[in-house]
Symmetry: C3
Subunit: 341 residues, 3 copies
Amino acid sequence: MKHDYSLGEIAAFLNAELRGDADVRISGLNSLDSAAAGDLAFLANPKYISQLTDTRAGAVILKSDQADSFAGNSLVLDNPYLGYARISAWFNRAPVPGGSIHPSAVIHPSVDLKDDVSIGPNVVVDEGAIIGSGCSIAANSFIGSRSVLGADCLIAANVSVYHDVVIGGGVTVHSGSVIGADGFGFAPNGEGGWQKIHQLGGVRIGDRVEIGACSTVDRGALEDTVVGNSVIIDNHVQIAHNCVVGDGTAIAAFCALAGSVKLGRNCVLGGYATVVGHLSICDNVILTAHAYVTKSISKPGSYSSSTTPLMESLKWRKTAVRIGQLEDIVQRLKRLEDNKN
Amino acid sequence: MKHDYSLGEIAAFLNAELRGDADVRISGLNSLDSAAAGDLAFLANPKYISQLTDTRAGAVILKSDQADSFAGNSLVLDNPYLGYARISAWFNRAPVPGGSIHPSAVIHPSVDLKDDVSIGPNVVVDEGAIIGSGCSIAANSFIGSRSVLGADCLIAANVSVYHDVVIGGGVTVHSGSVIGADGFGFAPNGEGGWQKIHQLGGVRIGDRVEIGACSTVDRGALEDTVVGNSVIIDNHVQIAHNCVVGDGTAIAAFCALAGSVKLGRNCVLGGYATVVGHLSICDNVILTAHAYVTKSISKPGSYSSSTTPLMESLKWRKTAVRIGQLEDIVQRLKRLEDNKN
Amino acid sequence: MKHDYSLGEIAAFLNAELRGDADVRISGLNSLDSAAAGDLAFLANPKYISQLTDTRAGAVILKSDQADSFAGNSLVLDNPYLGYARISAWFNRAPVPGGSIHPSAVIHPSVDLKDDVSIGPNVVVDEGAIIGSGCSIAANSFIGSRSVLGADCLIAANVSVYHDVVIGGGVTVHSGSVIGADGFGFAPNGEGGWQKIHQLGGVRIGDRVEIGACSTVDRGALEDTVVGNSVIIDNHVQIAHNCVVGDGTAIAAFCALAGSVKLGRNCVLGGYATVVGHLSICDNVILTAHAYVTKSISKPGSYSSSTTPLMESLKWRKTAVRIGQLEDIVQRLKRLEDNKN
């Protein structure tokens, strides 16, 4: 668990220009103002540039022009934030899976476990599943029949993957998330109740996807629900049945895509953004937090709707009344305009 | 896992009029435009009627008047969508529970397991629980003390059912859901902290209820929280303590009923609909997505509130300012009107 | 499971003035209108005072002035609601942990289990964890490496606690919740994908915290995410990486704090309240349900924003159009005002 590297090693990995002492030892990452002598810090946001003066960091990742005004050890990169992100893996304290299968795991004999798979206590893997090489499945998780994990997936504790779910390589799924539960499909049965529509499709998830905690990706009604490559999904997200999420899209917490939404590539959804069923959103769309999309979007750009603006509660109560009177307000305005002419 | 039926068998089950070849083999369900020769398709939404011309489906479920213009094999029903829903069960690929108790399950000796119960690996069933005939409880789920499952329930993997929860027959609960956790009840303790109010009630869930993934139904403070028969609940839903949900009501993802809400029968709640505590909503109310109910509703109908309409973000920022000025806008309008007279 | 006490015992525990028969037996708590002869009821909200006349409760907790008009047995307290909350523990039907370690639990030999710890079936506790005295961890939960639980914590079934999470004493975590999953941190990798930022911080949770079901507290990016003492958190809540939540704050269901939010002490967040990343909210702030905080708050008080007011859906559709026209409405008003002068 001790991580301790020379600045020279780090510079080589990041392909960064090293200015200063290549032998200084680095044992952690930190922000400029919290860093100690053994820490590597970074300057990603120019508004913190004044912190360079007082930082006690052993070294700082920064841009070339910023390095000129810094006396300490530095690693010069065009994109310091990306450099920090890349080197963060070296200081990760998460336990490294040991490549063994815990004896309490219940793995159906038909399961195809590739090389170097780590399976934690009480994990259950059902008939016909395929677990790719280098995968790690943590305690108490469940992988359903015929589901497939590509290489190097990290499945955290208490994850549920239903049957016939295909997950690509390098995918992370955090605890409490559920992949492949039934989509919400019911037909009124004519007697005040509901006839369940069995969800016959599966889920396909691409490579290098990250899914946060307590998120859900439902299986398709007829065809599969699809999440593309390099999609990142935060906690408490709902991807309903038959959605298709394009490559590189980012989805923040509590977003919901209703059924059969087609979301483009490289979109960014702020928290609580929601999309009505069967709509299409083109590539490169930003939805700000709370945006509620009620018609398809075919032009890249940033779109918003929201709760009303934040006010003191007393003012808000009056404002709410006025919102309810808007139609009347417009009619009154119209009468004044008509009188004018 | 191979499902292959004659069209005649399907017609008999659906009580449909069969036009065409009763011997054609059907091995799947699909949409009109994706169907192959072995697939049964359906025409539920008239806007897809033009797809009848080109579909390669082996047979189509449709209405009588639509069948007249279709040359292929057809199953004629008044309600094709309901027919599709009913037959979907025949093509469900979910593993069929085997009726056995996995040796790794931990079942208290006092538990009453009825006939033909399937219990998966690492399931835990506590003292005094009763598991109805034909129930299936999947891997790593937990059923608390004295809780009761009626016949033919399907409890998916990683579900948590606390103590003293009574669930009816034919109920499905998806992974990650939690039934019977404590309601959110605390009294200020007068010292800046909170005195927990222990939640002494339980949860009662009716027959034929479906609960999606990562949803919660809290136990009651004094009396039980109650979910009626034939209620369908999507993912990420919160039913707080002492709510009563009427029969046949449908609740979409991320809806929240605060404590002691009484929701009528045959209501439909769109995604993110929320109801303030202690309110009553009568039967046959529709709440559109994001509706936020702040007073009781006693008249059936459709009700809405929402985030503001979707706009390009630049326009939205200006609009938000204007919402904040609404009281001022109305005063200005009033002055103009007063001047007029 | 039978709870049966004399009214005198209860009065002594609550330090209440007893008027009437100290020997009456009390076997349950209930509301005034539902109580039977063996029940203790309480009058917390003066609007229910008329129910005193007809209640069949064996005794009632009430205020001194209310007691004067009540003929039955009573326990007089300045704060009847707090009295009810305190005595509720005596009637809690939740199974009492037995202080034993279930043989199916998988506990790393290095784990430090203090006295009187109860560990349920299939619980997994990883290397180096410390479990405080009197803790109870229910079925199928997971405690990661080096994580620490203080004394007397209750961890419900199917909870996930990642590595390096420090939890104080007397903390309750309900099922499905996840403490210490990775914060949502990624840097664009310049090739249309995302470089994960490994989350090197942990989570620190104070004493007497309650966390509901299906809630998430993410680990910090560099430093820890911190939840203070006596914080109460409902179901489906998201506390993102590096948030700091002050002592005594209450957070209702579906609230979300984005990354690095600093929330003060004794705040109350109504359901669905959300706070944008990096903002600070001072002590004693109330956010009403759905409040969306887009700038820091430095003055105690009650703040709101919300969805639009609830209306019949037809009216709402017209109103939504008018909201979209607000900028135009203001311009029209301005023209009229200009013409006036």
